[in-house]
């Protein structure tokens, strides 16, 4: 009986959805415009996944040092911390948005002009590399938190 239970557990463990290949797509990518002298900004997008789980390992851009960050607010104090990776759940979606998880862009080589596009290279653990063009929007937009 004990053995049967063990095998049942083993069977269950081996058929978890993680084994299905991920099917990720990136939507609505945008970045916030900057003014001359401003070195930092952020980019946002939604990742949808209709397959098995995946992980976003890094985001790079030719015009800035970029990294994944989370913003958390605790007792009114905003703290920003780097993320090693971003889990993309199976059959789910992850929103990068103002006041939450975002791609931090630092050391911008030139200001981001509204209307321009910013190239981003996303690297997933299983889905490999994806290129995304983020639309640069005026700083006064994207007030949603």
């Amino acid at each position: 009986m004990k053995n049967a239970l063990f095998f049942a557990a083993l069977l269950l463990a081996s058929c978890k959805p993680a084994d299905a290949p991920p099917a990720v797509s990136i939507h609505g990518a945008w970045a916030r415009a900057t003014v001359p002298g401003q070195m930092g900004s952020a980019a946002y997008f939604t990742i949808r996944n209709s397959g098995g789980e995946d992980k976003l390992l890094s985001v790079t851009s030719p015009v800035a040092d970029s990294s994944l960050h989370s913003t958390s607010t605790d007792n009114g104090i905003m703290r920003m911390r780097p993320l090693d990776a971003l889990e993309i759940p199976a059959k789910g979606a992850v929103d990068l948005k103002p006041g939450g998880t975002h791609v931090m862009l630092m050391g911008l080589k030139q200001p981001l002009q509204p209307g321009a596009t910013l190239e981003l290279d996303l690297k997933f653990e299983k889905s490999g590399e994806r290129k995304v063009s983020a639309e640069v929007r005026p700083a006064g937009e994207g007030a949603g938190m």
Partner: protein, 197 residues
Amino acid sequence: MRQARLIIWALCAVALAAIGVFFITSKPDQAPTRMVTSASFGGPFTLVGSNGQPFGSDQLKGKPYVLFFGFTHCPDTCPTTLARLVKLRRDAGGDGAFDIVFVTVDPERDGPKEMATYSKAFGAPIIGLTGSAAQIDQVKKEFGIFSQKVATGDGDYTVDHTATVLLFDRDGKFVATIAPDEQDQPAVDKLKRMITA
């Protein structure tokens, strides 16, 4: 048996009472670290305006204003909050309904010039203020603002800081706060009350 049950019930009642007493008496300890009253909060200050000239808090009198602390290199929270304040101000009465005052917690990198360009980036008037490290420290203290530099590893840094927006009426009296995660509608209601106060 019956006696035993009675004793258990009695013990339960005592325990409940004890818990009740504990919650009632321990409440004051759980209050915010600093009680804010309009009389003790804030205070007169002198900073430096975007034109490089001294800017005193008395220059804000006669019109309600909101105070927000941040820094221009802030990638996410500060531009998000400022963009939101511009939008909420339009919802609450228009660009002229009150002043949005943005004070840097990073005077090292944010001089008057940086504050001037940054404040113009949001398509609506924003008053950008900086000052000496000592002036900024004093204002932070007066308004209970926390900030701390955090190295990003490449020699650069960001700043963790209080992101709560402080609301003042036309006489400079503190009236309310807007938390970063607060919904738009209650925030607009607070701003409207501030405008009519």
